[in-house]
Amino acid sequence: MVTRRNIVHGAVFLITTLLSTAGIFLLLEAEFLFIVQVILYVGGIMVLFVFVIMLVNLDVSMRQVQFNRQWFVAGALALVLAAQFLFAIWAGRGALRLPAMAAEISPKNTEAVADALFSHYMLPFEIASILLLVAMIGAVVMAKRRVG
């Protein structure tokens, strides 16, 4: 996705990546997050991206140079970052094993998430809804054409 010249192809690759991430959530027995990922991320956010890509005339930018001038330094920094993370994972590699209590999480995942969300995490929930309201208003104001 990060190397495609054609942005629509890039968006489609991101969509498949997000769907695969949703599949990973399902493998980790988090079925509610699987569905939330598909509905919100793939069915909402990426539709928004695809809309904007189609509303913006990208023919000109598709013919220009795609990578900026500092690509080498950026790549080197990213590799350093990756090395740091790899070291952290490698250092803790023996500590993570599938616990034996695998079976008890499954059937009630949605109920468990709902329980936690509406009891312990009620305040972040309300703040998130206010955030969404603010974002909605901001996006509508931003995207309006100024008349005159």
């Binding site: 997000l18 988090a30 919100l40 955030l131 996006a139 995207a143």
Partner: protein, 102 residues
């Protein structure tokens, strides 16, 4: 199902994160930069889910829901900004967005 060791999920999360970082730092097109940011957020989500599964608690999943919500808000506002800028300057390349440069 053959259970997969958690390390592999963490490697996947790392790979996605680094690819997202490279995308943000290297590309000129602002829309692709935003999409790479979404990739980074997804990598973090995978990480959270892995640890939520490991400890058997649902807190990680709740946090992941909030991250997804946040990403939606951020994408909406970011794309609104891009649209507004495009209507003004007809460009989506980050190098050319230099109105406030000295």
């Amino acid at each position: 199902m053959i259970p997969v060791d958690y390390d592999y999920y963490l490697f996947l999360s790392l790979a996605l994160f680094v690819i997202g970082v490279i995308g943000v730092l290297t590309r000129r097109n602002v829309i692709i930069m935003l999409m790479s940011i979404e990739l980074i957020l997804n990598a973090v989500n995978i990480n959270l889910m892995v640890f939520s599964r490991m400890w058997g608690s649902v807190d990680g999943q709740v946090f992941a829901i909030f991250i997804i919500t946040d990403a939606a808000a951020e994408a909406a506002v970011g794309l609104g900004i891009i649209l507004a800028f495009f209507h003004n300057r007809e460009t989506v390349l980050a190098d050319e967005m230099d109105i406030m440069k000295w």
